[in-house]
């Protein structure tokens, strides 16, 4: 395996691994969105129907 091979393998595998790790971190870090909560009060959107 030559130097170019090592570089392209480490960069490619490293990139997709860090990319996935960053995405998972961002998904987990965000607090549960309000729409997932239960028993919220209803509010009026002022729509007429």
């Amino acid at each position: 395996m030559n130097l170019g091979g090592w570089i392209i393998m480490i960069v490619s595998v490293g990139f997709v691994t860090i990319f996935l790790g960053w995405c998972i971190y961002r998904v987990v870090r965000e607090p549960e969105a309000p729409q997932k909560l239960h028993a919220q009060a209803e509010i009026d959107t002022k729509d007429q129907d």
Partner: protein
């Protein structure tokens, strides 16, 4: 009209009229199915994308095209084609779902208020259903191989020809109807038996519904798939030099075969000058992310109007890329190289089926712990295939339920009958997998290019990049750069058109000629047309129903 506060991220008066209207319509439809958790929808979309291509097609293509140089056009295509189209599908799907539609004909109907648009969406029913008909058969092969490895029935010796003969008999490659002939092979050992198991599993999951079926399954199947891949990867990377008489055939050289730059004395620039490699890389990204199938649109339509799609779509794509590059890229080719050497691997990677079902079984049997590793590898392929195949059923179920008003039992029964007929057709005409190959070309390649182009044009030119950007930004947890909209509007259609045109020029001639020369190919194309006509008729009936129940109005939020 009152909307529960949990549907809103902002105070109600901060929403403009169209958004309030969309929220109201979404709330009206809340008796319908929905995802249970955010992780569930991400895993389901990733599961739909991760399939056999990640572990068999990608390594084969990368090794075939200049080793590591392939990764440069591959990542360019990911950012210029894959991610933008994935965002388009998620945005179109959530937009349609917020207006009460989960099937592509319905989604297209509200995106482009034109009489023609639902019929373009019929492609989003044809494609997953027709692909399911043959994909489930391949899924059965994976399950069969996993079982046979686990049961110790795959010890066929060191000769590759024995594995080729086994594969031919198992799948029925020798003659049409061979897969239904149980004189030489017991039914419980046949591919048909394993196909039956896969068929039942798929329909049990789809019958249980979106959250209790697909989401529940993907939430344990995807982590299990990664664990299986890590086990196989650990075994492959510790193979060392299994045959001391062939010191060149070691793991490092196997990795080098897959990843090295500068083959045959070529510079990196000479390698990158290979236009064919750019086309293949774009095609690999396109097929790998499962864009153009209509499945992501359908899945995204079950999101809530304010759910994030920007980060979720990137996360699902990242999961697919991890499985493809970090797992598939390190397992398949290095394992084959260690036992076959350069010449053997070059021959094996020319055919995905040959690599997966002839070469790799022989490789597993040759390595220490091979029986266990083979069982785990094929079980992982089976899980990857099952998470994909089950996603192919949902778009048709959505149309049958919302278009014809059928209940779950009736829609599942009807779809089961149609897909069983299609699979029976594919299995019967098994000589040289001719029916499977023909369907894969016309539906699994041509039609998905067409549908992806339609989706990109609808988003970029009909919905418009301003409105499209607002749709992507609503509830977004990451900021999508504005220039992505220009990529979607101008670059992606052009990229798709060029890749499609060149690819058609290279491959279509032979397939068109076959229609005239081979009656089985002609019948298969006829069968595809029949399924397309059925999808169009279902769409027509659905449009009549939708026009009666909720005719399209100018969107004003009331």
């Amino acid at each position: 009209m009152k909307i529960p506060e949990q549907c809103l991220l902002l105070p109600a008066d901060r929403y403009d009229a169209p958004t309030r209207g969309a929220l109201r319509r979404w709330h009206v439809n809340q008796g319908k199915e929905a995802w249970g958790t955010r992780a569930g929808v991400i895993l389901a979309v990733a599961g739909s994308a991760v399939g056999l291509g990640n572990f068999l097609r990608f390594p084969g293509k990368a090794a075939q095209y200049e080793g590591g140089a392939f990764m440069i056009p591959y990542f360019v295509a990911l950012f210029l084609l894959g991610l933008p189209i994935a965002w388009v599908e998620w945005a179109l799907g959530r937009y349609g779902g917020a207006r009460g539609y989960n099937s592509l004909p319905g989604i297209f109907r509200v995106v482009w208020r034109n009489k023609l648009s639902p019929y373009l969406g019929a492609l989003g029913v044809l494609i997953p259903v027709a692909i399911y008909m043959y994909y489930v058969y391949i899924e059965g092969w994976c399950l069969g191989y996993a079982w046979k490895f686990a049961a110790g029935q795959m010890a066929l010796g060191p000769e590759q020809s024995a594995y080729g003969t086994f594969f031919s008999n198992f799948v029925g490659l020798n003659s049409h109807g061979a897969a239904y002939d149980f004189t030489t092979i017991h039914f419980a050992d046949s591919a048909l038996f394993f196909l039956g198991i896969c068929f039942v599993l798929n329909f049990v999951l789809i019958y249980r519904g979106l959250s209790k079926g697909i989401e529940w399954f993907c939430k344990w199947a995807m982590p299990a798939l990664v664990v299986c891949a890590l086990i196989v990867l650990a075994r492959v990377l510790t193979l060392g030099t299994p045959d001391p008489a062939k010191p060149d055939q070691n793991v490092l050289n196997g990795l080098g075969f897959m990843w090295n730059l500068g083959w045959g004395g070529k510079t990196i620039w000479q390698q990158l000058g290979n236009a064919q490699m750019w086309l293949e890389a774009a095609g690999q990204i396109f097929f790998s992310l499962s864009v153009g199938f209509g499945i992501i649109c359908c899945y995204a339509s079950y999101l809530k109007p304010n759910d994030d799609i920007a980060l979720s779509s990137v996360t699902a794509a990242a999961g697919n890329e991890f499985c493809e590059v970090a797992l598939g890229g390190l397992i398949t080719v290095p394992a084959a190289f260690v036992f076959l050497g350069t010449v053997g691997v070059i021959a094996a990677t020319k055919s995905t089926f040959n690599l997966g079902f002839v070469t790799l079984p022989m490789v597993f049997n040759t390595m220490p712990l091979g029986q266990f590793v083979g069982a785990v590898f094929f079980f992982l392929l089976f899980l990857a295939a099952l998470t994909s195949s089950v996603s192919m059923l949902q778009p048709a179920i959505a149309l049958l339920e919302e278009g014809l008003g059928l209940g779950r039992r009736a829609s599942v029964s009807l779809l089961g009958f149609i897909t069983a007929a299609g699979s029976a057709f594919v299995v019967y005409f098994s000589k040289d997998v001719i029916a499977l190959d023909t369907m894969d070309f016309w539906v699994g390649s041509v039609c998905i290019y067409i549908l992806a182009t339609i989706e990109v044009l609808l988003f970029g030119w009909v919905m418009g990049i301003e409105k499209g950007y607002q749709e992507l930004e609503r509830g977004a947890e990451i900021r999508i750069p504005k220039f992505v909209m220009y990529i979607i509007k101008y670059v992606a259609p052009l990229y798709l058109f060029i890749v499609f045109a060149v690819w058609l020029r290279q491959t279509a001639g032979a397939y068109v000629q076959k229609i005239g020369h081979d009656p089985v190919v002609a019948m298969t194309v006829g069968f595809i047309v029949l399924v397309l006509v059925l999808a169009i008729l279902l769409t027509a009936q659905s449009v009549r129903r939708w026009n009666r129940i909720h005719p399209l109005q100018k969107e004003n939020g009331t």
